[in-house]
């Protein structure tokens, strides 16, 4: 058993002639909560898709449990994905199924358990996220925070080794945000899983993450424990952690000269 459940080795990825990642190296040790941070559009979510084998890297490789993801055939990738649970940015609940059926979905698809056991498992997962009472509701009847929690229950339905979170805090009120923070940590520790969180919320993430990678311009700009990063003097990290408007990451998108564009 490798110490790192996920390893990203010299990974480059690009599409439409534009390179999104240039030689990224990351490791995700078992049992840890690791965050990948960076500005919008820095390719964080794409990294999760690369780990899940939904897209192939241009160069380098991603290894999950010692296996190179992009070298697996369909069967191999599906086998690896059964070890993963993923929480999508907006939950991605199946809108035609009830909350109960959403959580039961992966269990029904991958096991032949009897109905009574499926019911117990689903209710246990829903209880863990505090929504056992909402099992009969349809996704359209849930608030954003509740939908995210149901999606989390679904992501951990088969007790995965790796739980991936894509922007778990986006668009949530402070209470829901706190709830999700606690759930990420407690589910990780209870399941003995490894969590990979893609986010740009500094405060929440730093409160519970074990290790943080900063991605900027397609590279790992900084890495370390939250304490290290808070004290970092690197200009990019400083700008990001302290939410400064301008700095190494410019406020303006690259444009022609302002004066000449306004014909002054």
């Amino acid at each position: 058993m490798t110490t790192n459940i996920v390893e990203i080795d010299n990974l480059s990825f690009g599409y439409k002639g534009k390179l999104l990642h240039k030689g990224i190296n990351m490791v995700f040790p078992r049992g840890k909560v690791v965050a990948i941070m960076g500005g919008s559009g820095s390719g964080k979510t794409t990294l999760l898709r690369l780990i899940g084998g939904q897209i192939k890297p241009s160069e380098g490789e991603v290894r999950v449990d010692g296996k190179v993801v992009h070298e697996q055939d369909r069967h191999g990738i599906y086998k690896l994905r059964r070890k993963m649970g993923m929480l999508f940015q907006h939950g991605a609940l199946f809108t035609d199924l009830s909350v109960f059926e959403n959580v039961a979905f992966p269990i029904r698809e991958h096991t032949d358990l009897p109905e009574s056991m499926i019911k117990d498992l689903v209710l246990m997962k829903l209880n863990a996220v505090g929504l056992r009472g909402a099992h009969a509701l349809m996704p359209a009847e849930l608030s954003g925070g509740m939908a995210r929690r149901v999606a989390l229950a679904r992501a951990v339905a088969l007790d995965p080794d790796i739980i991936m979170y894509d922007e778990p805090f986006a668009g949530l009120d402070p209470i829901s945000m706190g709830v999700i923070c606690d759930l990420i940590r407690s589910l990780n520790d209870a399941l003995g899983a490894t969590s990979i969180i893609v986010t740009h919320d500094v405060e929440e993430t730093f409160s519970f993450a074990d290790y943080v990678y900063f991605v900027a311009n397609g590279e790992v700009a900084a890495e370390g424990t939250p304490q290290d990063l808070l004290q970092s003097e690197l200009p990019f990290v400083h700008q990001f952690v302290h939410a400064e408007k301008d700095g190494p990451v410019p406020f303006h998108y690259a444009a022609a000269d302002y004066r000449s564009e306004l014909s002054l």
Partner: protein, 268 residues
Amino acid sequence: MIKSNLLICLIRTLQSIGRRTIDRLWRLGAGARLFLLTIIYSGESFRRFHLTIREIYSTGVMSLLIVVVSAFFVGMVLALQGYYTLQKYGSSEAIGVLVALSLLRELGPVVTALLFAGRAGTAITAEIGLMKATEQLSAMEMMAVSPIARVVAPRFWAGVISMPLLALLFSMVGILGGYIVAVPLIGVDEGAFWSQMQANVDIREDIINGVIKSIVFGVACTMIALFEGFDAPPTAEGVSRATTRTVVTSSLAVLGLDFVLTSFMLAV
């Protein structure tokens, strides 16, 4: 100067024609690939047939009303028009045959397919397009469940099974509509209406050929709807365009295929 401008214009036009052709060919290839994958993954969806049954309900059963009402009116109009022409030649008793043959051979399969594309095809495209836009298909992939086996294949078979049944129902209700206009309203002899129909409608040549047509239309319409949904850009505009394309492409495909199938069937 004008010459070179003309040349540039010509080159641009050629380029855009080329680009569009390549794009169309690419989409045709992607559609064929999805069709093959659907067939390959059908085994999985047959094992859990309740998924297909659920889709038969939402595509087939939910299309019943529009099919039955349209069929009734089409049958009535056929009888009116038929009688108007036939009575000039003193053969208004043949009206039953006329109504039955028109419906079984052409109008049943074709109009049902057109209605199906508008009613069920658009629903399939919009549903799958939105499932894609809200990452539901991605989520399924990440749960190691193939969206083709779970979402596409059951809808495909539901369409293929529903279409011939709907078309047969269309013909039956149409004949009933024709009967109501011809016999009680116009006063054509009831015995002549039914007996001529019985004598001149052939099971293999008319009914089975119609069923074959509607199965082919079922494959085409459902596959077009599924592909458009699967291929839609994950935005509001993308889904709306895909839905429009489903209706346009399905209708043209049905009319084109109808000509090809009819010419083969008449030649045999």
